[in-house]
Amino acid sequence: MSENTFRKHIRESIADENLQIALDGNARRRMAGRLEAFSAMPDFQERRAHAHAIKADVISHLDEYLDQFIAQVTANGILVHRAVSAQAAIQIFLEIAQEQDAHLVAKSKSMVSEEINFNHALETKGIQVVETDLGEYIVQLRGERPSHILTPAVHLRRGQVGQLFHEKLGTPYTESISEMVAIARRVLREVFLTAKIGVSGVNFGVAETGTLCLVTNEGNGRMVTTVPPVHVALMGMERLVPSLEDLALFLSLLPRSGTSQKLSVYTSLIHAPKRANDADGSRVRHLILVDNGRSSMRSSRLAEALYCIRCGACLNACPVFREIGGHAYRGRDDSIAPYPGPIGSVVSPGLLGCENFGQLAQASSLCGACREACPVDINLPDLLVRVRAGQAGEGRNNQKRIEGIGIPALVKLGMAAYHFGAGKPALFSVVQRLGGLLSHVISPRNKYLPLPRWTGWGYSKDFPRLAMQPFRARWRNIKQTVGHYKENKRQPAGESLPETQVTKSLSVRFIDELAAIGGIAYRIPEKELQNRLAGFLQEHGIERVCVDSIGEKCLPGIEVVHSPDPTVQVGVTGALVGIAESGSLVLVGGEDRPLTASLLPEIHIAILWASDLVPSLPDALARPEIRQAASSVIITGPSRTADIEMTLTIGVHGPRELYVFVIEENLE
């Protein structure tokens, strides 16, 4: 197979008008969003450096952190499997599926599953895997691979999705994104409720506590880790952070970088399978830790790429990605690289082989926009150069280093000739003069020569004539008159006015933040709670609600259920704490505390005592209840997606509406 399929795909992408509109929109909105999200974080650069240092420590001591993590996860009751290769990971999963006699798997987004070609491998064994992230679901229906780490269907426009749903699902053609989201909700809800196994990825594993942290916006991540009786988590073995405190740091960077959110809507913190008295949760949890080239990458010069937290910011910032999208990143065998963009051009060759994917690293002008966007400060330009220099394979056994993989032979030859000449000043000078003469003979009048297209340069620009007299020849004739520079008085820097510090109470901050993400809060005194709740339900014509023990206490005289019941429209729950800086709620599962009550219904009502408000995420994660619960979740607004044309749409798999009753003792 010729390596020029890569260039063919580049050309096709550039010529694809729909794709260009979609990619321009993605780049503009994501870049602006990211900048805005971090503008309110004055210590961003310090956090970034700190995150880099933490990841450097984790990757250099990976074995110790893995031992600690595995011991802790196992002690928590989760079954841990280690897979050295893609095939091994698939085999482990197949054994679990056979044991459960599972033929339908509900899956949330996982990049490592793309890397190991999970869906395809399972389908050949007669197991149907349904992607439940809206974007993933769309590309799966199209028989494609995701074109972006975070927004898999970023290459499509709404009409294409409407047509797809019409053809594959038999629904009437629509161009309304909210209608499309409603269709997906309905179809996939069935999958969540009937699948025997839920498969998820893992965004962060916490070594000290054995926590599996999973971040989603739509709620499908919560679904697949809560509703099916068996949950299998796939995790790249490098995705570790040492402690919950470190996790808080990374959670302050990941959503801001990826989707410009302070926190994603749902941050699941999973510790254990359902315990005997727990209201809900998967009965059995497996964790498959995937190596698949990570060990060898770790011992190569590409180790820094293992710091990646898969936020997608480098894709959004990359001018190459902006032109070609994720599907054009191809190996020599024409296969689509599982990881696109700048990080993908390092990780794909690093994990899956330089021979096939090394050429991707050549498609970069080394402009450094990727590094600038990276929240972990991964030096992507250096890593890209290392891939080009054949340093990807160093960790593998006896692999020969091949320099300049993917460079056309002619260019290599030209470079060799140039560098030979440049090594010898006398020769260099002669060649300069000859070149100058020749280019003036070819183009006596015009300072620029039109080179033919095949030279590459001539494709879009003219080439300057070489000077008849290069600088080294002119040097002798330059007369230097060194002047005496008189210091100019510098303009005094304008003194900035001290910013007015407005100290808002925690509850006001919480309410403002919640409103900004589409939730509604009411501050009420405790004595009014029952009446207000009853009034709310009456107004909405609700007769049955799903509750936890707090909700039950506050709703005398109303029919309540405690178990996951998809027909119930409203869930009423308590909250362990509220986080003022992001308008988030922390809910822990357990006895009388079904997590499905805040997930399955269309409306979620939470009751939060103002005294349980904390300023920020680290304060919340320090609460011991989180570690003790089998599963807990940080909820930041109603379920949402931006998977179709980046248009924010509320209510995919989780509740469409979120109300919080903030109880304040001293309120009149």
């Binding site: 550039i14 001018p319 190459v320 032109e323 070609i324 690293a361 050549q362 498609a363 970069s364 002008s365 080394l366 402009c367 450094g368 926009a369 600038e372 330009p381 150069v385 290392r386 891939v387 080009r388 220099a389 054949g390 320099e403 300049g404 993989i405 460079i407 260019v411 290599k412 470079m415 140039y418 560098h419 440049a422 090594g423 000043p425 300069q432 100058g436 620029y448 590459g456 340069w457 494709y459 879009s460 620009k461 300057p464 004539r465 070489l466 000077a467 007299q469 290069p470 600088f471 080294r472 040097w475 330059i478 230097q480 008159t481 060194v482 002047g483 005496h484 520079y485 100019n488 510098r490």
Partner: protein, 244 residues
Amino acid sequence: MPKIETVQLFVTCLTDTFFPQVGEAIVHVLNRAGVQVEFPSAQTCCGQPAFNAGLHSQARPLAEHTIRVFEKTAGEIIVPSGSCAGMLRHGYLELFKDDTRWLDRANALAGRVHEFTEYLVDVRGISDLGSRWPGKLTYHPSCHLLRFLGVDRQPRLLLASLRDAEIVELPERTDCCGFGGIFSLEHPELSAEFLKRKISNLEKTASPTLVVCETGCMMHIQGGLQRARKALRVLHIAEVLDTR
């Protein structure tokens, strides 16, 4: 009488071969800043094209040559290019990572290297040379200068000091122009798209002149303008400062 500072000029192969007038302007401006310039004539190319392409065994002899040439000299080394300055300061350390003897020599060199505007503003404390440019100017911050060396304030300060000049902000200014060394040969389609966007943003400023601190971008953008038959021109900042 203050002591006259003497610096070494690493003019870069592109400036030397294609834009010698930029080299002359650099010398004039440095003279005006009270600096005597020396030009070690054995210098050629820093090896950046091969290094960035991953052809490290080709880049190495040039890096060694450049180190040898400048080791024989004293004083700060001035480079009129962000990417070549970055190569000398950072690329060499990467190239000689496993060779402590050369790494020490590369480190010693790196400590002396300054990009032209960085030297004027940060080392010499100069923000106004009394230069004059009647008309509009806009500035393209080259990628390596901006992101690898973190130099942006310095050229802006110098441009702001120009008498009679109107500095217009270039839209999407931090976007790459698509040069990237052999990237522009190897991926001409991508390079062309970047360049198209850069030129279209340049036209939005209605400025007839684009200022850069990098002869690579200069050659690339000017080449694109020539091909598109546009009467705009690209100048190195030294050419703009070499006026009165």
